[in-house]
Amino acid sequence: MVDRIERLTNLLALLLETSRPLSLVEIAGELVGQYPDNERSRRASFERDKAALREIGVPIETEMVTGGPYSGQTTYRIDRRAYELTDLDLTPDEMRALQVAVAAVRSEPGQHAIWKLGGALDDERPAVSAVIPERPELPAIRSAVAARAPIEFSYRGDDRKLDPWGLLLRGGFWYVIGHDHARNERRTFRVDRFDPADDDGADTVRVGEPGSFDRPPSFDPRTAFPADPKQIGHGAEESVDALVRISALRAGAVERELGSDRVVERAGDGSVVVSVPAGNLPAFRSWVLGLLDHAVVESPDDLRRHLIDWLTDVAEPTTETIRP
């Protein structure tokens, strides 16, 4: 038996060169001695090869024969135009720039794309790099955004249907922003929190009919999704501002994070009071608590009370039972 790489290469060559679609019997006849004689194991080997070629992106077309002695048989071929990469005519400096970009992100699929475009592996380590998380759902969502096709997915147990307007990577996570059908308003979803596909093998993201919606012309994911983490998941209009005292040790960092216009008071000991949007309570609380004893909420009262209760709960853990 030949090496699998040889058989795959031969199969690829045959399906690319054939002038008409071929049935499995014809394929096995051409690739003499490479597929098992037994019909069932031949079919199994071929299915495995077909899946391997599709996995690396080879577009294999299948056709069902109707009429004639081979009626009902499936035939296979590869359309060379669909197989081959369009020539891009990249200039050397453009190629080099893309190569450096992929090296800075250290993406494996990106490196494969560079090779296909005729570039090399960039073995110089750039002084700056970024980790961009890769998610299997992203290409499908991206193409739905471009095609204006709705997507369906399950999110924390709920089925959602969304007109996806755009994808945003921020704070290390990918978000999709769009119009939620059931809730009839703009919503944002973290892509890595999509529920995984069902056991029956259905895709995590199902893409609907292209051209199904118009995206608002002024839409920009950056502004649709405020940079201030305490605003995430909320409309700006319902925002409440809290006054938070920050100790001298962390005052500089907080001022840089929020901007100097958020500082409402500077005390002689170096501490500052900042005004912080608190519309999204969990996000606000997490931010304040993350500063530990360097931050104290001074007002409004209900927020201050909420944090004191929260801390009291941690300071006096329940002894009778361990929840749940």
């Binding site: 081959e84 380590r125 991206r142 755009g166 945003l168 929840r323």
Partner: protein
């Protein structure tokens, strides 16, 4: 480059190697290996396997390639002259890499990268990724790598080999430190920017979070720059102590955010996890943030959340409006 490679990976690599070889005609084996991130033995082995593959007896429909004396030679080009089109993940990755690079310090959007990206529109469309007219859809995919203050200066110092004196807030000790650093690499990961640098204080290579740097000043000293790999994730360390924590449904984000050893599902959507604890202070902070949504079941020492929460409550007593 290491580890066993399956048939798909080998074929995938061959299908980019062959068109390139056909274009250049011949190339030194070591150059081919370096270019495609393989060992010379892997290149030679794979090329020898596919040599004469194709559709015999038609010579022009067979792969005609051989390796001799450290050189790779390619004969009559006919099969696999063009690379396979991009797959959707490859196209998406290329697009986001280029968008990310545009965000990095020192990027020039009007330059070669921008022009290359515009030319990509056609192949992106082939891969089903982008059917927008002429790649003008910047709103469709946005990579936001907002940089804290000093990121540019640190990147420049790393590229030029300039030593810096910095003021750094150390969260482990909760104090401000002064130190000299030799920046080696600046990188973004999971929403934060870091600088990997030789630390004059500990005499070790350390990773600093840039948003904790309070001040920065050149010392006037220069050092030899070297190519440095950014670290893999810093958290996963087998030597680090573990704590067992029960988490309410609302606290499940901990599973996404931090490495956990064990997850046991409990009643009412709660889970019990065992997670590495880099310092008591880190665990205290996590417990404080989780509040009633978490219960510490087991740790090596006392519950550090209790003492910290009491200290924080004292501060609330001191500061009233």
């Amino acid at each position: 480059m290491s580890g066993p490679r399956n048939a798909e990976d080998r074929l995938r690599r061959l299908l980019v190697m062959l068109p390139w070889l056909m274009e250049v005609g011949e190339a030194p084996l070591d150059e081919v290996a370096r270019r495609f991130n393989l060992s010379e033995a892997q290149v030679q082995g794979d090329l020898e396997l596919v040599a004469m593959c194709g559709l015999p007896p038609f010579v022009d429909e067979m792969v005609d390639v051989f390796v001799d004396d450290g050189m790779v030679f390619v004969g009559v080009p006919r099969l696999f002259t063009r690379p396979l089109r991009l797959t959707a993940p490859e196209a998406f990755s290329l697009l986001t890499s280029a968008r990310a690079a545009m965000e990095l310090p020192g990027a020039d959007p009007a330059g070669a990268l921008g022009r290359g990206l515009a030319k990509l529109a056609a192949v992106l469309a082939d891969a089903g990724i982008d059917t927008e007219p002429q790649g003008d859809d910047t709103a469709g995919v946005v990579v936001d790598l907002a940089q804290p203050e000093f990121t540019d200066e640190l990147a420049e110092a790393a590229a030029a080999g300039h030593e810096l004196a910095i003021g750094y807030y150390s969260p482990a000790r909760d104090e401000m430190t002064r130190r000299t650093i030799r920046p080696r690499h600046v990188f973004a990961d999971a929403g934060h920017w870091y600088v990997l640098a030789d630390d004059g204080r500990s005499h070790q290579r350390r990773t600093f979070r840039i948003d904790r740097i309070e001040s920065i000043e050149p010392t006037g000293l220069a050092f030899d720059i070297e190519s440095v790999e950014p670290p893999e994730r810093f958290f996963d360390d087998a030597d680090v102590a573990r704590a067992t924590v029960r988490l309410a449904p609302a606290a499940r984000w901990v599973l996404d955010q931090y490495p956990v050893d064990d997850v046991v599902e409990l009643e009412h959507g709660w889970v019990e996890v065992r997670l590495p604890v880099s310092s008591e202070r880190w665990l205290a902070k996590l417990l404080i943030r989780l509040g009633p949504e978490a219960v510490l079941v087991n740790a090596t020492g006392d519950n550090p959340g209790v003492a910290t929460a009491r200290r924080m409550l004292d501060r609330y007593d001191e500061h009233r409006r």
